[in-house]
Symmetry: C2
Subunit: 206 residues, 2 copies
DNA sequence: GGAAACAATGAACACTGTTCACTAAGTTTG
DNA sequence: CAAACTTAGTGAACAGTGTTCATTGTTTCC
């Protein structure tokens, strides 16, 4: 049936139109500050139309989160060619930090906002998070297999420590809490990268 | 003039009434989910009355942040009797984590929400943050003076690394991002404390 | 050509933070 | 004591939010 194929295609195109605009606007002014009405106006449709393609704003948020995660994963994938797992680990951390600094609003809806996790906890898995974390953990495991990280025996624990370190610093920075250091923007960035490097050095010097 | 004294006192009492209720409700359901109308109803006043004591919701938020910070600082103060600066450092970290886990919504408005920092960056200092960070930094400095932390020469940098580590883990946990570890709540808590301990051990084993 | 399916929407609902003219009470003055 | 002034409290309104739903107009099917 060619007609229903076309309908399906048009439906996906419409969904994509909304999603693309939402992704752009969420990145620009943030999730909370972007209204359904504003998205509708930009794509020249009625606000109610959006609800024919997404059940609610949270659903839209989840879709944008997926887009953002895929962008991060594309960056992560560039590190597979790095042979030394320790170098690769640093590269992953660096990419994570750079992503967070370059896309603060997307970072927020991936790792900070409570909203997208509503239906998590109810048995539903957080697939995107799992995927990204798995990528990190794999490299950490490789480091441990080669005896490059000795402080830990469980790659999950070492990974979560690394994740916590970089997430902590970039999120403090993105919400202006590091202003107390009275540093220039570039100095702050350097501080974050240096902390990552220090942590890795200490972990590998076990 | 006794009357204007009484008026001043009554004004402060009214401010306190609003602030107390706001503090309670922000802790219970969070800042965003607490409406001015709900606070007004609870204290049996009109919503407009609140605006006679606080310029807007952000102003109220800042006042609650101060209350929350004072509570954290009271806990911090209990560590001054610990002689070993390294033990004291661990105690401070533990208190920080426990506070964040016990008061997630207050933690959020102290360290995560962007709103209260609007007028920061414009030259205004973030006094409460400075105060709490100063407390941490002092102990870190003492550790360095006694040669207990060798990886760093600047206590600011060592402090911000520690802060980043604990903030990262508790904030990931509080917004359910650590669900991917599929651990029990108590296991997650242990993991956070263990990470703090590991970091301190590594820093002191320089 | 008439019936069924469906995408798009205008209007409404229940909220939100916030403002402001107005009331009523308390305080100061003549 | 009464009149003038100050001030705390408020009802009503405004502009905005996410969301729902009956109605429209078009397309597809028989």
């Amino acid at each position: 049936m060619g007609i229903s194929d076309r309908k399906e295609r048009e439906r996906l195109e419409m969904r994509e139109l909304i999603l693309t605009e939402a992704t752009r606007m969420f990145a620009k002014v943030g999730y909370e500050e972007t209204s359904i009405r504003a998205i509708a106006k930009k794509i020249e449709y009625s606000p109610a139309t959006i609800y024919n393609y997404f059940t609610d704003k949270d659903d839209l948020l989840m879709a944008v989160q997926e887009v953002a995660f895929n962008r991060l994963l594309v960056e992560f994938a560039k590190t597979v060619s790095i042979e030394s797992p320790l170098d690769r680990l640093y590269a992953i951390g660096r990419i994570y930090v750079e992503f967070a600094l370059a896309n603060p609003e997307h970072y927020q809806l991936m790792f900070i906002l409570a909203a997208p996790m509503k239906f998590i906890d109810h048995g539903v898995k957080w697939e995107m998070g799992n995927h990204a974390f798995g990528f990190l953990r794999q490299t950490v495991q490789e480091c441990m297999d080669k005896g490059l990280i000795k402080h830990y025996s469980d790659s999950r624990l070492a990974s979560v420590m690394l994740w916590g370190q970089v997430h902590g610093l970039v999120s403090l920075h993105n919400c202006h809490r590091l202003s107390i250091l009275q540093m220039q923007e570039s100095e702050l960035h350097d501080t974050i990268f240096a902390s990552l490097q220090t942590l890795l050095r200490m972990l590998s010097a076990g």
